[in-house]
Symmetry: C2
Subunit: 207 residues, 2 copies
């Protein structure tokens, strides 16, 4: 889990499918523990390759993400404490682009912003805030695109999920996670979870 975003970005440049990382700005440990956890797990489940908790450290978030990756598989990069500006600058220096999700941005449905983002063919750093973000987030100094999932106030979790689902065109939901100890087998009517024996694919017992 300690792989730097630098190494991840280099690795992705050799592949076709751009990678997405999610930067969570403005986490407040007293208020946002659950929301930030939900944002991190949404990032993982909806196809992002990594999550960065900027500017602050929160061991509880780290513990939860590590536990989910341990049980349900990865890889999934997690880092915390890095200043947001450093993340953004390094990301752009490596050739990546930055998408800021905000209710004020271009409406993903009524504009061509998603097409323009995808046309870049570059790795995407998605910034989601938990409180009113610095005005510079809207500027080209920080973001390449400001995107709104509808122009109504709702939830950064919802916005992130819809953005990722549209960016990956639904394929992120077909992904198999590596080294998963637990796998859910979809059911119409019940719960079916398989525990993998020695993390071997195909070998498991139902629990």
């Amino acid at each position: 889990m300690s792989k730097s975003s630098e190494e991840q970005s280099k690795a992705s440049s050799t592949k076709n499918q751009p990678k997405v990382y999610v930067l969570r700005w403005g986490h407040r440990p007293k208020r946002d523990i659950r929301l930030t956890t939900h944002v991190a797990l949404t990032a993982r489940a909806l196809g992002a390759s990594g999550f960065i908790l900027s500017d602050i450290e929160d061991e509880r978030i780290k513990a939860t993400v590590e536990k989910v990756v341990k049980n349900w598989g990865g890889p999934f990069h997690f880092e915390m404490g890095t200043p947001w500006k450093k993340v953004v600058n390094e990301w752009r220096a490596k050739g990546g682009i930055v998408v800021h999700l905000t209710a004020y941005g271009e409406n993903i449905e009524t504009s061509d912003v998603m097409q323009r983002i995808k046309a870049q063919g570059k790795d995407v750093l998605v910034i989601v805030g938990s409180q009113k973000v610095p005005s510079e987030f809207f500027s080209s100094e920080v973001s390449d695109f400001n995107v709104a999932i509808g122009n109504q106030p709702h939830s950064e979790c919802a916005s992130l999920a819809v953005f990722l689902d549209r960016f990956f065109e639904g394929k992120e939901l077909t992904k198999t996670f590596e080294n998963a100890r637990l796998v859910i087998i979809p059911q119409q009517r019940s719960k079916k979870v398989v525990r993998k024996v020695n993390s071997e694919p195909g070998v498991g017992k139902e629990i």
Copy 2:
């Protein structure tokens, strides 16, 4: 805001586009205030016509939703305290169907569950839980469909958003809300909010 779900359901039967209501089960006032608020606002912003906080009353959720509707427009039905079983039974008695969102359900991307839901052409009650739900939620006594937004643990907020975005095929993000006092005009680089004068469409001053 006091219109009953019964009246809403009748109204919808005269129109083509099925309506969606969201039932939030398992809200715990101490723990879930923010998450439940996010679920309610996500429901509204992603095209649902109403939100039901089942089994428990929480004036803070009510106040937040009412404030958002007052400022950003509606209509949006809100009710709280109704026992979930009553909501489900009445919904089904009026000809509606019930979709339970759960990590264990049919994967929305790899199965045809969404096509089957839409083929029903009926109003949909989406149940989202905040904690481990009663096992009966999976049975045909309660749900017509169990749907997973990928079979990974993440967030009910994210699941709800993706479900609604796919159900309404993105059109929910083009919707104009009635009696909105505030309207965001999408921007590439800044924040632009218009305050409507006397709630007249087209008449407003930028704030």
